[in-house]
Amino acid sequence: MRSVHHDTAGQPTFEPMIQIDMEIKTFVSAWKHCDYVSTYMARMISQNRSDSVRHLNLFSSAFNELLEVAFRTRHADGELACRVSRHGATDRIELTFPCVPEERQFYEKAVSQVAGSEARERYLNSVSGDLAPSREVVLLELAVDYNATLRVEEAEGDAIKLVVDLPLEGLQH
């Protein structure tokens, strides 16, 4: 049986797995970085999951969407930090990237609405509306299709930190 660690506030302790930091300029210089980073990190952290191939596929799929969101930031300076940590069946992605204040407000609002009762309906109907997927839909998909929980945390400077908990081990086939 796995032991469960809790910090002093009673919250479960997520053990660090892997972190990749890049200059945002470097990251946005090539679209394929989203694919590379998501696949590489998924390979690294999936090795000791009960079904590594399936876990890799699901994790890479979810993480790539987040990286594509970060890729479209309108802020040109600063760092992209991707950190993955684990607690039991849940993998936590902490994605920190520079963004302008309006974007930050957008993410805060979008994340607050992800958990709402209408979120699922909005997500299911999203295909019929937009020509291209909005960033809000990407976040909704993580919540609806991957049972992810999301939140926005404080980050230094003109940056935002998206924290996404992915319980992929428990996701039904």
């Binding site: 679209w31 394929k32 989203c34 694919d35 590379y36 696949t39 090795q47 009960s50 079904d51 590594s52 191939v53 399936r54 596929n57 699901l58 890479s60 799929s61 790539n64 969407e65 594509e68 997500y123 299911l124 109907n125 999203s126 295909v127 019929s128 937009d130 020509l131 291209a132 997927p133 839909v137 990407v138 998909e141 609806v144 299709d145 991957y146 996701l171 086939h173």
Partner: protein
């Protein structure tokens, strides 16, 4: 070369014969323009078909939202422009996100349905995967292992190799291989969730390391190509209606110079003394029964042909006979009891066999058990082993 260059990219194609548009690989474009030719092909396919268009995404490993929306838009628009046309999106349960993602489309247009092609797959699996059969599968492997542990080194098994056991079932073969030969890595794949759960439970209980159990479809695997020194697939080609599809995949994941190892039966050659005639009749009928369900339990001696046709070289083939003299005769008898229960029970009933046939069918199994347990008896179950090398 960067390892990323090895990542599969995507391929879209249209098969007019089956009215099927398929897209496979990794589809993560930055802009829809990058998908131009594939989107045009889908539009062209829609323009040419009548009745139904199958959209096959079962080998679609990844698709970002930009691509999903682009393809979906065309399908949705087509539904509205041509209400006569139906779309069937064929997903795979192995690629966890596809059914959910494409399932959204069914909410929007009644003419779109999503089918998991492998949800009722592998004709033999339903008969064999339920929990009651597990002890018998373990006994079978125990009995065949006595032979295979001697045979395997002649077919490419050695310490330190990277191997895959495809259609691993409850995983006990992988465990035995791990203990005996210490490969550096074993990937064990099966399409039965209950079997994999059992395998993982055993792995945890016995603190076994080095085996990665993975849920997958042997005929459409997500495993990267050319990564295994040895690929084993035991007793499975014979219960799949298109064994050449599995062999194609075994070939793909095998390294050039690596070997593919298969075992299969020829059930009509099961034998026993005394009461040989009754036993022979029943096992001939077993072969016919399996054929009814599109399984070929006579495949064993055909292995050479299958391996050659798959493109393998240096084919090695041999047979061994599991008998009542291997260890405890009761083990042999227990296996036959289980066969009788399934073959003369559920399978015969499903075929619609009458009570007279079933009684005679069962008698052959009874006589095989009699031969196995008789102090002077002899009972045998022959297995064909074959392997071939993927050319360099």
């Amino acid at each position: 070369m960067s390892p990323y260059n090895l990542l599969p990219r995507f391929k879209a194609q249209y098969d007019a014969n089956s009215q099927e548009f398929s897209i496979s690989g990794v589809v993560r474009p930055q802009a829809i323009d990058e998908l131009g030719p594939s989107l045009a092909l889908l539009r062209e396919a829609i323009g040419r078909v009548r009745g139904v268009l199958y959209v096959n995404v079962r080998r679609l490993a990844q698709m970002n939202n930009a691509a999903f929306y682009a393809f979906s838009r065309i399908i949705i628009d087509a539904c509205r422009a041509r209400p006569d046309l139906k779309f069937v999106v064929v997903t795979s349960s192995v690629v966890g996100w596809t059914s959910r993602k494409f399932g959204r489309l069914t909410r929007l247009e009644p003419n779109i349905t999503v089918e998991e092609y492998d949800s009722e797959f592998y004709p033999g699996q339903g008969f064999l995967e339920e929990g009651g059969f597990v002890p018998i599968l373990r006994t079978q492997t125990k009995m065949t292992w006595r032979h295979e542990r001697e045979i395997l080194p002649r077919h490419g098994m050695r310490p330190g190799i990277v191997m895959a056991d495809i259609c691993c079932g409850i995983g006990d073969f992988a465990v035995l291989v791990q203990k005996e030969f210490q490969p550096s890595r074993i990937v064990a794949l099966d399409h039965s969730i209950s079997s994999l759960n059992y395998a993982r439970q055993v792995m945890r209980e016995f603190d076994i390391r080095g085996i990665e159990y993975t849920y997958g479809d042997a005929s459409e695997m997500l495993l990267d190509e050319a990564q295994f020194d040895l690929v084993t697939c035991r007793h499975s080609l014979q219960i799949f209606n298109r064994p050449e599809l599995i062999l194609k995949e075994l070939y793909r994941i095998c390294k050039p110079g690596g070997r593919i190892y298969i075992t299969n039966e020829k059930n009509s050659h099961c034998l026993g003394e005394p009461r040989a005639e009754s036993i022979r009749w029943t096992y001939n009928e077993v072969a016919k029964l399996f054929a009814h369900f599109e399984m070929d339990v006579e495949l064993g001696p055909k292995s050479r042909r299958y391996l050659i046709e798959a493109g393998l070289e240096d084919i090695r083939i041999e047979t061994f006979m599991v008998t009542n003299l291997d260890g405890d005769p009761q083990d042999f008898a227990d296996v036959i009891v289980a066969w009788s229960d399934v073959y003369a029970g559920e399978m015969a009933a499903k075929r619609g066999d009458g009570p007279e046939f079933v009684a005679r069918f069962r008698q052959g199994f009874q006589d095989h058990i009699f031969a196995a347990l008789h102090p002077k008896g002899y009972a045998g179950w022959p297995i064909w082993v074959a392997s071939g090398r993927r050319p360099q």
